[in-house]
Symmetry: C2
Subunit: 232 residues, 2 copies
DNA sequence: CGACGATTTGAATAGGATCAATGGGAGTGG
DNA sequence: CCACTCCCATTGATCCTATTCAAATCGTCG
């Protein structure tokens, strides 16, 4: 299937400064597909055949080792994943599955690498994207290494709250089981962490959370832009 | 101070394909300095003024939050650090201090960004470097999220053992206090983890470790190339 | 209604952290 | 060469956090 009718993709920072001919060539060999929820798209260890771009829906990145499994991140529209593996022509370090029914653009990795060689602007855009991804993981790593579970939850809630307009309430963007895995804890422990936060004005109603005492939340969470800001 | 007499730097994957004139221009504005041990080179939150290259000695990257501190990584010759911050013209996410007396090359970040705009080969080399760094952090993150402290230690020992020739014994490349921080645990806990590994043939003599029963170590550690391999 | 999965709660356990105290070099100065 | 000191590493005891296992509850969907 062709994928030429995707202005959102063209507008991605990654592609916006690419030459038209190179972009068109990429799209001609790409596939736009819709996948049902919970479908495994890639498995860690596989060779990177495609670069994936989430156009609609959302995708969960996860990893396994030793029989344990953990969510490494979530990709929502319009975002790419496993760019680094594609560029290095290496195997994926993470698996990916759709979280919902999702429309996804697949670009053969060989063509990405060609475009990257031919189009200097594209190469520069990739650098910016990779650098952002890199800093994103460093922040996740710091979050996990420097904070307790309750602190991670508190800061995550503050982040969602801010992202959603900071009006005193927020929606969890995924189910609690997934949130627990994102935060590196068990669902039971997440539930207890919410209870721990109750005295700090956190009121839970399903996937709706009200933050009734922002000040005391921030005193507890001590948000740190070098961990929690997604923009820098 | 000029830094033109540094073939190791020129040989770095990052610079090896750069045009001579661009490389020379970079070196002309760079500084090669020697620093005493335990000197703070950069602090997280500072603007990225320089790209750093460790030519001799070693540098510890660490981060703080909430009064806690943790080692995020160690850089040995010849390696760069905080490339991503330089490229994004953003603040450092990590602090850095010399672990030993170290010779370090400082390249003004503005010049790096210029060269990156002017020299497409350099931009491509940066992509490869960044992609490697990215995958490195992902692996650290998986290590921390999917393994217990004892498993992390066991796998780290196996990695050092392999790196050092796999002859049944290995040297810890840093003191145990730092190793503990790298592995995300306290020194006390590291000491106990070594005791836990004793039945698996791990004999500790200061910073020399003998692995007397590799087979049972690997059964315990279950090393995973998607976490432990530094090459892919 | 009934079934199923997600979430919560409870109790027991394990894994790590903290605090305190001790042992053990390496380096210093007498 | 020997005390002395300092810092690192180890050990013990205790506390706290988080996981595990089990069971109850809740909500949704057929």
């Amino acid at each position: 299937m062709r994928a030429t009718d995707l202005p959102e993709v063209r507008a991605l920072r990654l592609f916006s400064s690419m030459q038209d001919q190179h972009f068109d060539a990429l799209m001609e060999v790409s596939y736009l597909q819709t996948f049902p929820p919970q479908l495994e798209l890639i498995a860690e260890g596989d060779l990177a055949d495609f670069l994936y771009i989430v156009v609609e829906g959302s995708v969960e990145l996860y990893a396994r080792s030793n029989g344990r499994e953990s969510t490494m991140g979530l990709v929502r529209p319009v975002g790419t994943f496993i760019l680094a593996a594609v560029l290095k022509d290496a195997v994926y370090l993470m698996s990916a599955r759709t979280a919902q029914r999702s429309k996804i653009l697949l670009i053969p990795s060989q063509n990405i690498r060609q475009a990257f060689q031919k189009d200097a602007e594209f190469a520069r855009a990739i650098v910016q994207d990779l650098a952002s991804c890199y800093r994103g993981v460093v922040k996740e790593y710091k979050d996990l290494k420097l904070r307790t579970a309750v602190e991670r939850l508190a800061n995550r809630l503050l982040r969602y709250h801010k992202d959603q307009g900071a009006n005193g309430s927020l929606q969890l963007p995924h189910d609690k089981r997934t949130l627990a895995s994102v935060l590196g804890m068990t669902p039971e422990n997440l539930s207890r962490a919410f209870n721990t936060l109750k005295p700090y004005g956190v009121e839970v109603d399903g996937s709706t959370i009200r933050l009734a005492d922002l000040k005391s939340m921030e005193t507890l969470a001590k948000p740190n832009p070098l961990i929690d800001d997604r923009t820098t």
